[in-house]
């Protein structure tokens, strides 16, 4: 489950701050190549299985009513939920950034805060509040509520960065406010909307827990079902193949829609401060929209968790069990984050210091792999370990590799941004002062990029903490993370016992969500 904070990717400019090229040391290139090859394993595996299974079996497994049903479900979900999310988040972003809405700053934070709540906790809250909730309608409702911040964040950041001079220019050319928004503002938000929509779409494809609660079948839930009933049969693998194709279609669509345009400010000079539009009589309905959004996305989960905690009393706080789960989660999160960051380092260094065709190819590979649902990566690793290296099956090593593959892009984004801020001249100065290359790298670039690396590790750790699907399929026997414990209790309809786990997961995600919020503000220069 690639989750919450892949956002960074959609907010941060790609390849920011490229400096003069330098030749990459062969060992760095080798390391980056190795990481990329390992990252490609799940994708290669899907293809390999398909080839091995033979066309007849493949077509028998793929072209059947069940797959058609799942495809219709998934496509409808994406086609309905994504546009609603776009409209909602553009409206919220405009209200909080460009109107004179009272308390805009507080509302802005309330629009980002739902990120701290794992999607399956949203779903848990809704199903216990409205037990009859199920099917496509419910799927769309909870998806929009759980994922709209993914679009809100980049869109509001882009809105803040817009040069108000352009809107003035359009007004001077005779365009009324509505047409200025349609012809000048909206086109400039296209990149943010495309990136955010892609992220939402990929999450819709990859999410498991959310849809199980409300009994809505997607490819991901079907793959896990299939896996649980027949282990790693070809049926599960072929479903994974279709799911991967869906992801690739989304990636391709985004590339097509995004286009080639540059949206940055043309020209120099500081942008004038933006003026906020007067809402006038519309203030009250606008406030109601924001209040309703906050109520649905924050009120419902918090009220539900609170209600279950109150109902469960002190009995649900089984401290030994919770402590154990917390300890295991933290350990897995820290180890996975470390591995992902170390694995991302050569790639990040090359992409800033020695960009070229090879680097673009490797980066493209990592990008695609990072978009794969956790369930696909997990399935691939299960099959490979079982068939090729059985001793590695359900070991700490395998689960950490899975985490590293899933969250590599997050680590990469943060590292790349921080290396871009460490001038290469320092590295050269260190070399000229007699440090051999590795030591020069260590004493300059690595030291300076440490804060960025730490931020990246925190993002990866957050993802791992709330990860459910891959952990369930790959973790060593006896592992029980917070997410797993939450899942098994709520699976037994013991909603009260699940509540403390939900609360802890939310509490641990809050600081990072705040960090993300602050970062997006700062990037827009405020």
């Amino acid at each position: 489950m690639p989750s919450a904070v892949d956002l960074a990717r959609s907010i941060l400019p790609a390849g920011a701050g490229r400096r003069s090229r330098q030749r990459a040391a062969p060992w760095i290139v080798l390391a980056a190549l190795l990481v990329s090859l390992v990252a490609l394993v799940p994708l290669a595996f899907i293809i390999w299985i398909a080839v091995q299974t033979g066309w007849e079996t493949v077509s028998a497994l793929v072209f059947r009513p069940r797959v058609g049903e799942l495809l219709v479900n998934t496509v409808l979900l994406v086609l309905i939920a994504v546009p609603i999310t776009i409209v909602l988040s553009v409206a919220l972003a405009w209200l909080t950034e460009r109107s004179d809405l009272p308390g805009a700053r507080v509302w802005a934070w309330l629009c980002v805060a739902p990120l701290a709540i794992p999607a399956f906790v949203h779903s848990y809250a809704w199903i216990t509040m409205v037990p009859g909730l199920h099917g496509l309608g419910a799927g769309v409702l909870v998806s929009v509520i759980a994922y709209f911040p993914f679009l809100y964040l980049p869109v509001s950041a882009a809105l803040r960065r817009l040069d108000p001079a352009l809107e003035d220019a359009a007004a001077a050319l005779g365009l009324g406010p509505g047409r200025v928004f349609a012809r000048v503002v909206l086109p400039q938000l296209r990149l943010a909307i495309c990136g955010g929509s892609l992220l939402v779409g990929l999450h819709l494809l990859a999410e498991y827990g959310l849809y199980v609660f409300i009994r809505f079948d997607t490819f991901t839930t079907a793959i896990v079902d299939q896996f649980q009933s027949t282990f790693n049969g070809p049926a599960a693998n072929m479903l994974a193949g279709v799911l991967v194709s869906c992801c690739l279609v989304l990636l391709g669509l985004e590339v097509l829609l995004r286009g080639e345009e540059r949206y940055a400010r043309v020209g120099s000079g500081a942008a004038r401060h933006q003026q906020r539009s007067r809402l006038g009589h519309a203030t009250l309905p606008c406030l109601l929209l924001l209040a309703a959004t906050a109520l649905l996305s924050l009120g419902v989960p918090f009220v539900t968790i609170g209600r279950w905690l109150a109902a469960g009393g002190s009995g649900v706080w089984r401290l030994d069990e919770i402590g154990l789960a917390l300890g295991q989660t933290l350990f897995l999160a820290a180890a996975g984050a470390l591995l992902a960051t170390v694995a991302a380092m050569p790639m990040a260094w090359i992409s800033i210091r020695a960009p070229g065709p090879l680097q673009r190819l490797l980066e493209g590979c990592n990008y695609i792999v990072g978009s794969l649902p956790g369930v696909v990566i997990a399935l691939a690793l299960v099959t490979i370990t079982v068939r090729v290296a059985l001793p590695l099956y359900q070991t700490l090593f395998t689960i950490l590799v899975a985490y590293a593959l899933m969250f590599l892009p997050r680590a990469l984004v943060s590292l790349r941004a921080s290396i871009a801020q460490a001038p290469v001249e320092l590295e050269r100065a260190a070399s000229s002062l007699g440090r051999p290359p590795l030591k020069a790298l260590w004493s300059t670039t690595i030291r300076l990029s440490a804060p960025g690396a730490a931020a990246g590790m925190a993002l990866v750790a957050l993802g791992i903490m709330n990860e459910l699907t891959a952990t369930q399929m790959l973790a060593p026997n006896g592992t029980r993370t917070l997410a797993m414990a939450f899942w098994s209790y709520s699976g037994e309809i013991d909603y009260a016992s699940a509540a403390p786990y939900a609360l802890i997961m939310v509490a641990m995600s809050m600081p990072l969500t705040w960090l993300l919020y602050v970062q997006s503000k700062r990037m827009a220069g405020r």
């Binding site: 001079a165 003035d168 001077a172 005779g174 000048v184 000079g269």
Partner: protein, 360 residues
């Protein structure tokens, strides 16, 4: 015949009055420059005229239409006033052609024709029409912005420091080109700038602005040679300001007897000369004798800078100016052609051409 009238314009931001009571009248088809140091409120004034801001008080009239006044204001998009911003403000998501045609109505064919025509008028090649703004140089971006603003045939064109982002050589030629272009199209123009040379060379009417008010409005020549006070004098160029006693159209000053632009009589006055009014003639210590009422000086510094040379001249014989001691040792700073500039230590005789200006 005036087309734009500003009356008692006020605009406050919190406690700061960015525009504090302005009156201005702009003649139809003329070019007016508003010049002032940064922060004087000139951009706010421009935004008030364009309709991006609404004045707290006062009235703006364009032709026979009241644009703003008595708490009612015509929104920017109904004013028909062209604006060219500092950096062009081109739409980054549109091609150059679409940028130029942004405000145009009409059919596609007519539109395309008109875009090409406008591009030609502002001196842009047809091939750039397919490009994007970021592929153009700063000068070309300004031309596009101008063409875009001209496309809607504005009654009034506002230029907000449009040349300040360009390098020096390009700036002068762009300025000339734009001035000619707008003149030919007969569009009344207001230019806002902090560059006095730009203001003086561009406009037929110059308004010097400070602290939200106009300190002086007039023709460039008038402002340069007859500024109202020392601040305006020094803002518009280098100035030599001397104490003097004036009577009968002449001043008795450290530079001797100098013609002034007033007939009144005053015992204590300040006169202003532009450095280029002062000429230097080489002489020697011996040459000084016998001409007590002629001003002489000694070159104390000389800084060579190619075509021009900056020279400091210390006055040697002060006849008897009213408060000679005050300026006695302050050298005059003059700029002379570098070819034949006197060297440090040489004695020169100073001559004054034209009249000195007497501050009120």
């Amino acid at each position: 015949m005036s087309i734009l009238e500003l009356k008692g314009l006020y605009k406050r931001y919190g406690p700061v009055a960015a525009v504090a009571g302005l009156d201005l009248s702009v003649a139809s088809g003329s070019r007016t420059a508003i010049v002032g140091p940064s922060g004087c409120g000139k951009t706010t004034l421009l935004r008030l005229i364009a309709g991006f801001e609404i004045p707290d008080q006062g009235r703006i009239t364009l032709g026979s239409e009241v644009l703003a006044g008595d708490a009612a204001a015509v929104p920017a998009y109904r004013r028909g006033i062209g604006v060219v911003a500092q950096d062009g403000a081109l739409f980054p998501h549109l091609t150059i052609g679409d940028n130029i045609g942004f405000g145009m109505g009409g059919g596609d064919e007519r539109r395309a024709e008109r875009i090409v025509e406008l591009a030609y008028i502002v001196g842009l090649d047809k091939v750039v029409l397919k490009r994007r703004p970021h592929e153009l140089s700063g000068g070309q971006q300004q031309r596009v912005a101008l063409a875009r603003a001209m496309a809607m045939k504005p009654r009034l064109m506002l230029l907000d420091e449009p040349f300040s982002a360009l390098d020096t050589a390009l700036r002068a030629s762009m300025r000339k080109a734009v001035a000619e272009l707008l003149e030919e199209a007969g569009i009344t123009t207001i230019l806002v700038t902090h560059d006095q040379a730009e203001a003086l060379s561009f406009a037929s009417q110059v308004a010097v602005m400070r602290d939200g008010k106009f300190s002086q409005v007039g023709s460039p020549r008038d402002l340069y040679l007859r500024p109202k006070d020392r601040m305006i004098a020094e803002f518009l160029g280098d100035a030599i300001i001397l104490p003097a006693k004036i009577a009968d159209g002449f001043a008795n000053s450290p530079l001797g007897r100098v013609a002034v632009d007033t007939r009144e009589r005053r015992d204590v006055a300040r006169i202003m000369l532009r450095p280029e009014q002062i000429g230097l003639k080489r002489t020697s210590r011996e040459g000084m004798s016998g001409t007590p009422d002629m001003p002489f000086g000694e070159v104390t510094e000389s800084e060579f800078a190619g075509s021009m040379c900056t020279i400091a001249v210390r006055l040697l014989n002060n006849a008897d100016p009213p408060d000679a001691a005050a300026i006695g040792n302050t050298p005059l700073i003059l700029r002379k052609p570098g070819m034949d500039a006197p060297a440090v230590g040489e004695i020169v005789r100073l001559t004054v051409s034209g009249k000195a200006h007497v501050f009120a």
